[in-house]
C-alpha cells in the first residue's frame, strides 16, 4: 500500500513529537547520546507507528514483531518512543540516567517494557535478531524481526559473522537498517576506520541492499514494503542520515555523539526542531500523493 499523504503527514507529526520528547529526555537527564538518537528517530517512528505488529497491553505477546536496536546507546531515542506508545510510565523519562532509574543510557530489556534486547555492547544486535528470526521460522510464526545497526558499530567483526549467517540461512523474515550517519565517537567514520565501499560490503555478504535517505518517511516506507515482500535474500537498508538531525548546532557533528544540554542549548534546540519539523511537514504536504 503506497503511503498516503495523510499517513505521511501523521508520521511527520509523530516524528516531530518524538524528536521533541527525545530532546526533553536529554535535557532532563542533563546529557545523552542525542546525535545518534535523532538520526534514527524517523526509522523508529515509521516502525512503531506503521509497521510493528505489537500489543501495548501484552508487551511479551509471542507473535509480536521484534525490533533489536543494536546501537544500544540510542536508548535516549527508543525510551521516548516506548513511553509515547504507552509501554512505560511517562514519568520515567524524567528520571532517565538518574540513580536507580529503570532507564539508563543502554535500555535493559528486563526493566524497560517493550525493549526486545538489552544492547549496548556493539556488534551484538544482528546476531540476536538472526536468532529471533530463525526461531520464528522454526516455530512457523510469521512475525518479522527488525534490527537497527549503527554504522560505526559495523567495525565490529561480529556483525559480519551475523551477516554471513543471515545470508547462509536465507533469513528473509529479518529486515535490517544501518544508521549511516557517518560519525562515531572519535570522528567521521571514514577517518576513524573506513567503511566504504559500505553498500558493496553488504552485497558481498549476500544481502539485498537498498540505500536510501533515512530521514525521508516516504522512502523508508517504500523500502520496508519492498523488504516485506522480498524472499530472495536478507535485506539491508543503508539509511543515509544526519547525526543530530533536526537540531542545527548538532547536525553532522561527531562531537554530538554524546553531549550535555543546558537550558540555553535546550531552548535553541527546541526552536531549531520546530523549524526543521515544519519544513519536513511542508515537504510532505507538497510531495505527498
Amino acid at each position: 500500500m503506497p503511503l498516503t499523504k495523510q499517513e505521511w503527514l501523521a508520521l511527520e507529526e509523530k516524528a516531530s513529537e518524538l524528536r521533541h520528547l527525545c530532546l526533553d529526555t536529554t535535557y532532563w537527564a542533563g546529557s545523552g547520546h542525542i546525535g545518534g538518537g535523532m538520526s534514527i528517530m524517523d526509522m523508529l517512528t515509521v516502525l512503531y507507528h506503521k509497521y510493528l505488529n505489537i500489543r501495548v497491553e501484552e508487551p511479551l505477546w509471542e507473535d509480536r514483531d521484534r525490533l533489536i536496536v543494536s546501537k544500544g546507546h540510542a536508548g535516549i531515542a527508543l525510551a521516548p518512543v516506548l513511553v509515547d506508545k504507552g509501554f512505560n510510565d511517562p514519568e520515567q523519562l524524567k528520571t532517565f540516567n538518574h540513580t536507580n532509574s529503570k532507564m539508563g543510557i543502554h535500555l535493559d530489556a528486563n526493566k524497560v517494557v517493550g525493549v526486545d534486547a538489552s544492547t549496548g555492547s556493539l556488534g551484538h544486535g544482528l546476531s540476536i535478531a538472526v536468532g529471533t528470526a530463525l526461531a520464528a521460522t522454526l516455530q512457523k510464526k510469521d512475525y518479522i524481526t527488525y534490527c537497527i545497526l549503527g554504522d560505526g558499530e559495523c567495525n565490529e567483526g561480529s556483525n559480519w559473522e551475523a551477516a554471513m549467517t543471515a545470508a547462509h540461512f536465507n533469513v528473509t523474515n529479518l529486515i535490517s537498517f544501518v544508521d549511516r550517519n557517518k560519525c562515531m565517537i572519535d570522528g567521521p567514520t571514514e577517518d576513524v576506520m573506513g567503511l566504504e565501499p559500505f553498500v558493496d560490503k553488504w552485497k558481498a555478504f549476500g544481502f539485498i541492499v537498498k540505500e536510501i535517505d533515512g530521514h525521508n518517511i516516504k522512502e523508508l516506507c517504500e523500502t520496508i514494503d519492498f523488504a516485506l515482500e522480498n524472499k530472495e535474500a536478507p535485506v539491508m537498508i543503508v539509511a543515509n542520515t544526519i547525526k543530530g538531525a533536526g537540531i542545527d548546532f548538532m547536525e553532522d557533528d561527531y562531537r554530538w555523539h554524546y553531549g550535555a544540554i543546558d537550558e540555553e542549548k535546550y531552548k535553541k534546540a527546541k526552536a531549531s526542531l520546530d523549524k526543521y519539523c515544519k519544513s519536513r511537514k511542508e515537504r510532505a504536504e507538497k510531495e505527498g500523493a
Binding site: 528486563n110 538489552s118 551484538h124 546476531s127 540476536i128 536468532g131 549467517t165
Partner: protein, 335 residues
C-alpha cells in the same frame, strides 16, 4: 528420570561428550523447543548427534562463536531452549562479551555445554586448554556453573540444566573420563556437593575428573596411612555448596581443593571465599594449575605433572596433615 539410567557397560564405551550427545538427543525427543548450535565443532563436541536426529533444529554457524551466542540469546528470547557447544576456552573467552551481555545480563534460558575443559585437550597446547573458564563464568551474575565428574554426571547435569530456568554453563572433558558413577541413579542437584568418602581428618573438595582422583587418593590413604579423608564432589562451582564447605571446616579443619583449572578464580578460590567468610581457621591448600600455562601432553600426564592426580593429592594430604595450624583447639576465641 525413567529411561535415563545407562548401564555400566555403556559407561566404559562412551566418551563424556558422547553421554552429553545422547542426553541432548533424549531432551530433543521430549521437548520440541530444544535446539542446538555449534561453531564448526559438531563432531568434536558431539552436539552433532542431535543434528543428525533433528537437522531442522540444529544450527552450525561456522567458526563464529560470538555470533553463535548472540543467535542463541535471540532464540531463547523467542521461546526456544538453545544448547550451545564449543570448546570451553572459546565459550568462556572468545564469546565472553556475548555470554556476559546477551545470555547472562538478559538472563535468557540458554545452556552452554563447553567441551575440552581444563587440560583435557592436552596435546593441543595452551590455545586449547581452558584454565580460566571457571574464573570467568563464575563472575557472571545469573549463570550457574557446573563441572561434572564423568559421563553419567554429565547426563544428570544436562537434564538438570534443562529443568531449570536461566543460563547454565557446563564444562566437560574431551575424551574418556575415569568412571565415578556407574549409573545416573543417584542424588544429583545443582549446588549440592556429593560426599564420595566420609572422613574427619581432612576434606578434599574436587570437581570434574579430579573427583575420581580424590576418591582414589582417599581410599589409598585409608589403607596405607589410616587417614580418614572426606571427599566432596563439588560438581557445581556456582552456586557453591556453602553448607558442605562450612561443615568440612568445622568437622575436619583441613581442606584441599583439586581442579583442572588455574588455582586463581576457580573451585579453589570459590572454596577459599566461603572459608574466609566463615572466619574459622583452617589449613588450606589449592591444587590445580599454579598460574602458569600448562605443558603439552596427554591429559592424564598433565594431571600428574601439575599434581592433580591421585599421587599429587596423596602428597598434598600428607603435607597438610603435618600442618599444626592451631595450638589451643579453642574455636570459641576465633572471630
Amino acid at each position: 528420570m525413567a529411561g535415563l539410567t545407562y548401564t555400566a557397560v555403556e559407561s566404559t564405551a562412551l566418551s563424556t561428550a558422547e553421554y552429553y550427545g545422547k542426553a541432548l538427543c533424549e531432551l530433543g525427543r521430549e521437548h520440541p523447543e530444544v535446539v542446538a548450535l555449534t561453531a564448526d565443532l559438531a563432531k568434536s563436541t558431539k552436539i552433532g548427534m542431535f543434528g543428525e536426529e533433528f537437522p531442522d533444529r540444529f544450527f552450525n554457524v561456522g567458526i563464529a562463536e560470538q555470533n553463535m551466542f548472540g543467535i542463541a540469546a535471540g532464540m531463547a528470547k523467542a521461546g526456544l531452549v538453545p544448547f550451545l557447544s564449543t570448546f570451553s576456552i572459546f565459550a568462556s573467552l572468545r564469546s565472553a562479551d556475548q555470554l556476559h551481555t546477551d545470555i547472562c545480563y538478559q538472563n535468557v534460558n540458554a545452556k552452554i555445554i563447553a567441551t575440552h575443559a581444563g587440560t583435557s585437550f592436552g596435546q593441543a597446547g595452551s590455545t586449547h586448554h581452558a584454565i580460566c573458564d571457571l574464573a570467568v563464568t563464575r563472575s557472571f551474575p545469573n549463570l550457574t556453573v557446573v563441572c561434572p565428574a564423568d559421563g553419567m554426571e554429565t547426563v544428570n547435569a544436562v537434564r538438570a540444566a534443562y529443568e531449570m530456568q536461566g543460563p547454565v554453563y557446563i564444562r566437560i572433558n574431551r575424551g574418556f573420563d575415569r568412571v565415578l558413577n556407574s549409573s545416573t541413579d543417584y542424588d544429583f542437584e545443582f549446588g549440592k556437593a556429593i560426599t564420595l568418602h566420609e572422613g574427619t581428618d581432612l576434606t578434599v573438595i574436587a570437581c570434574g575428573s579430579c573427583a575420581f582422583q580424590a576418591l582414589t587418593a582417599a581410599n589409598f590413604l585409608d589403607n596405607s596411612d589410616g587417614l580418614k579423608i572426606r571427599v566432596l564432589n563439588m560438581h557445581t562451582i556456582k552456586p557453591i555448596d556453602r553448607e558442605a564447605i562450612e561443615k568440612a571446616v568445622m568437622d575436619t579443619r583441613r581442606i584441599i581443593t583439586v581442579e583442572d583449572h588455574n588455582v586463581i578464580g576457580g573451585l579453589g578460590s570459590a572454596v577459599a571465599e566461603v572459608i574466609a567468610d566463615l572466619g574459622k581457621g583452617c589449613a588450606f591448600r589449592r591444587l590445580g594449575i599454579q598460574d602458569v600455562f600448562a605443558p603439552i601432553g596427554l591429559h592424564e600426564d598433565i594431571m600428574s605433572i601439575i599434581g592433580i592426580d591421585s599421587n599429587g593429592i596423596i602428597d598434598a594430604v600428607r603435607e597438610v596433615m603435618k600442618k599444626d595450624f592451631e595450638l589451643d583447639d579453642d574455636w570459641e576465641d576465633e572471630v
